[in-house]
Symmetry: C2
Subunit: 120 residues, 2 copies
Amino acid sequence: MERVSIADKMSQFSDCWSPKLVGQVNDCAIKLVKLEGEFVWHHHEGEDEMFLVVSGRLDMEFRDRTVEVGPGEFIIVPRGTEHRPVAVGGICEVMLIEPETVLNTGNVRNERTVDNLDRI
Amino acid sequence: MERVSIADKMSQFSDCWSPKLVGQVNDCAIKLVKLEGEFVWHHHEGEDEMFLVVSGRLDMEFRDRTVEVGPGEFIIVPRGTEHRPVAVGGICEVMLIEPETVLNTGNVRNERTVDNLDRI
């Protein structure tokens, strides 16, 4: 039951697109991640995903439109919805709220897939 | 799949200790709440609770110690743990991450119990 500082945790890593576990609330994992550039199109078959932007700007691309998300804003991507996160103008820091079982690349498996997350 | 601004949502209500639903991620509810002064001692039998401070200062009191939580920081209170949230120095704005079923006063029922949360 310790206080966790998001900024402190963010300072402990620099790799992008590799979520770190920072907490667990019931079945829900709290993860921090840094994004740079564009990710891969993917979806999660059975899991909703919440992206809360801490710093920078996230464009959440859907097949028919793009939603811009800035600091202090969040977007929830429902299960089954194809999406592509894109960091605009540099590194974007994000808190993810989703089941621990969510694979970062969803239904896609490639060199950016991270199977085992570090806990920091 | 819309962007949600935490500040915009916070501006839509002023009552304290009455969480508002702003999102749902799988089995997890995203709630916003304003705190002022001290709450009641309580615990939640089967649910962990996460408090992410948006503005102001939260003292999370446990029976044996107090943890100060400021903006950009969070604390996870495990199920079964008696606690009392106290806002220090004015209103404290908090994002709660917890199952929708969590009753704000936990095992206690009094005039501060809110049974049905507004969705904003």
